[in-house]
Amino acid sequence: MWESWKPDPSNKQQQVAMLVDTSECIGCKACEVACKQWNENEVRINQEPGTYQSHPSLDSQTWTIIKFIEQPEAEGMGQWLMQKHNCMHCTEAGCVTACPTDALQYGDYGVVTLDQDSCIGCGYCEPACPFDAIHVDKSTFNQSAQKAGKCTLCFDRISNAMQPACVKTCPTDCIKYGDRDQLIAWAYERVEQLKAMGYKNATVYGDKELGGLHELYVLLEGPETYDLPVEPKLSKRLTFWKYGLQPIGKALLGTAIFGMIINWVAARRTFKGGLHPHEAEAGSTMHD
């Protein structure tokens, strides 16, 4: 079912998703490598000492990483959680709302697309993302190279009936790709199974958050343990900026320009030759 799944090319409204069953993620980072390779991204050697995690966070060239979360217990070892992290492709996306140039958009199948040609590297998307999943390249002084980068859900692959690169490479098949509704149904079943196995805090993440994410998780612990925002909300200010202030400002601008044109047409008659009507009157009597 999963391996051969592909979206219906005639129905762009269909919602696809990736699901990461973290209970079966072995932290091998094959997804990281496959992602870099397929997208031809640059290497960013940036590991911090004392951890297995390859990068402290995502960056403009590193679109997916596995986060390693060590949870010690008083005696011995509690859990060592591993979570693949990348763009969540929100239905209500902060980055899309924050993007002034519409380089970020809601694309087909629920994917949040990023058109790098349109990106001016302003970086407004970075703080707008509750998942720290989009970044502008700051490694270069060449500003035209400073572009935002994030997971594309391999839009180029999925729109050609292929699986995303990370899904294809995952050795344990813990990353699944398919119809969002089906994956959600599977995720809830899996959580029940995990609870029965003793993982009493297992939970699904991404079903309802931000209108529904297109990156879903089966988590072994609550989202806060993974540093995932609990009940994230789209910033009202961003929404106001994008859908209020910008249109209002433009309307005002239009009105103002229109008013000036009216004024100019009328004033040209009133102030003929740049003279005030008083001057014109006075001028006819003055002879100096």
Partner: protein, 809 residues
Amino acid sequence: MTTSFWDLQNADVVVFMGSNAAENHPISFKWFLRAKQKGAKVIVVDPRYTRTASKADWWVPFRSGSDIAVLGGLINYAITHNKFHHEYVVKYTNAGLLVNPNFTFDEGIFSGWDPEAKKYNTSTWGFQTDENGLPKEDPTLQDPHSVFQHIKRIYGEYTPEKVSEISGIPVEDFVKLAEYVTSTGQAGKSAVFAYAMGWTQHTKGVQNIRCSTILQMLLGNIGVPGGGIAALRGHANVQGATDLAVLYHDLPGYLGQPNEAHKSLQDFLDKTTAKSSYWVNKPKFFTSLLKAWWGDHATKENEFGFHYIPKMAGGETYSHYDIFQSILDGKVKGLLNFGQNPAVGSANARKVQAALAQLDWMVFADLFMNETGEFWKLDGVDPATIQTEVIMLPAAGPLEKEGSFTNSHRLLQWKHKAIEPLGESRSDGWLIHEIGKRVQKLYASSAAKKDEPIKYLVWDYDNPEHPNDFDHIKVLKEMNGFDVATGKPLSSFAQMKDDGSTAGGCWIYTGVYPEEGVNKADARKRAAPNRPEGWTEAKTDGSADYLHKGYGFAWPANRRVLYNRASADPQGKSWGKVPLVWWDEAQAKWVGVDVPDMLPVAPDKVHALGVRGDSPFIMKPWGLGGIFGALADGPLPVHYEPKESPIANPLYKQQNIPTLRTYGSKFDKFGTVDEFPYVATTYRLTEHQTSGAMTRTLPFLAEAFNKYFVELNRELAKEKDIKNGDWVEVESARGKVTAQAMVTSRMKPLKVGGKTTHVVGLPIHWSPLSGHVHGDITNTLTPQAVDVNVQIQETKAFLVNIRKANGKG
């Protein structure tokens, strides 16, 4: 491994001990996870909480080097709590056989020990036989000379308290572990033990594995669905390299290497052919091998070229570490080094580096330059004193060459070339073929008898279509075997003859190329998935081809689970779990989901070879599983301390395994617990491969893990004032490395021998020259202390000291 990855889903208990499959065998790991999905208990017994442990139900930390104590304790627990599979043990194993009455075991020494020669005389390790040569047995297992009573007595000392004292596993945890494991000691239940270098890299490496086989046979877990010993091999094709005997002591298909004492082919075969097992066919396999190698020059008159085979000198070994010792001793002047980086990857790396500097010449074939190819650039090596001429042959990468991999579950998989090799690089096979051709040319005109093995060797793998490559199919066909007269490939090793009419380079591979143009290693027919996630689950009615018999070719005879006759009871019916093979009364033959591993004999009959229809281990004498079985270092595994140990052996006066071997050069120094109080173990990470020369050169892998580190527990770190990320020095008797500390709860202090013992861990993937990211060479620390059977080094348990480094970082 005895089983198949696809069969792991049927396990009730999975024990990882000496294996970190999630990190080092990630592809295999999904099958372990499927067992867990289906309700298996997954337990990791490891000094470190690894990525494997993170997916397990339970992590049991223990001291590296105490494996036999733990396994022996489990054996004892199964026996004393009567939790072993009684019928299986009596019928299928040699537990009931009576051992030579002169066999003794005292204070860690078996009978027959010669302290002068430092070796065992094994004459007292045999079984008592009757006048017909059949073994005497006691099915009640009560005879004091029975194997069962011997193991009951020897492992009786391995009480939970003793195990705890040696391993550091608290008594209650050990009992819990024993309960889980022995819960499978009954029909219809199975446990699988997965091991890798964590078991092998010890001075008792072979005995570690022997110990698990004894336990698994007691529990009735060999040859049954979800059971077995999962030997996870260290590289993609190590199994293939072993099968083809890239080893000094064996010939392809495990036929054994003749030595000086073997005066003739007949003499060799007489002395080494086992009776009453399928091995009685060895002369056929051996003759076919000789025919494959020397073709028309292998004739009945010249004993099929038996004397062309080099013979081992008595008592000599020629393993990896012997080679470097021999170079140091001036006995070896040249080295062909293909695809390895021993200057980084071998134990006691400084010694290896010094040996390289003694060579007259070295041929170095690799993808990239590395520390072995450029050893003169390493610290502590003075180039001015080195005369070694190094010739680099650029080798092709895995995607640039065709051929087969034989993976851990004995599955041959063909792979095709994806791209042409870069520039002048060539596949290793081409390089070797070319060297062979040129050597043959040099000897072509020689009339000397000693040069015949070279002159007459069949060496014609030219590929006219691809002059830069060799003919892979021709090699495959030769390994498979063929009829000499017609050239027709053999479809089964049963067709092999000892009269020179058949040839075959590796009898266990016969069937991979059953007819001209059919390469079963390239077969890719998978069974239809019956799970929504896209995999095939075993069915209780045997209807699902969950072993994917149409996919690749598993030796022998495309069999997925070895000794699968044991999955059925003595009468030939499945023990109750999903069926593997069974006796079909109507057809009067063995049938099953797998290819039956049994001679064509009814359960209640005896085969002409002396194997009974209810004895599944057809490669073992009388078809019985070898609970008692002679190795060079003992017939039963018992606990000895590692060469470098923090404690005195709590069980016996004998501290180390008596056959332990060290090399005695000035580099072979060993430390004591006073100077080096901590146990160290070495390991690999998912992100890198062995010395890292290959993976650290690949930017995306260098990026995935780039910091060399030493893992240590929080308590030791606190004691030493070491914080996460601090630079620390780790020192052994052999050398010192500097690494960044990874302070973690994933390791913990252990109570061993009444005192707190800390284990620290170091990955082996870093080196100072090759790749994009660098670090010190862990093997600077490790000792060349080796076992007697295969000369494997003890890199999993040795002693170090650790301190905060000043002035770095």
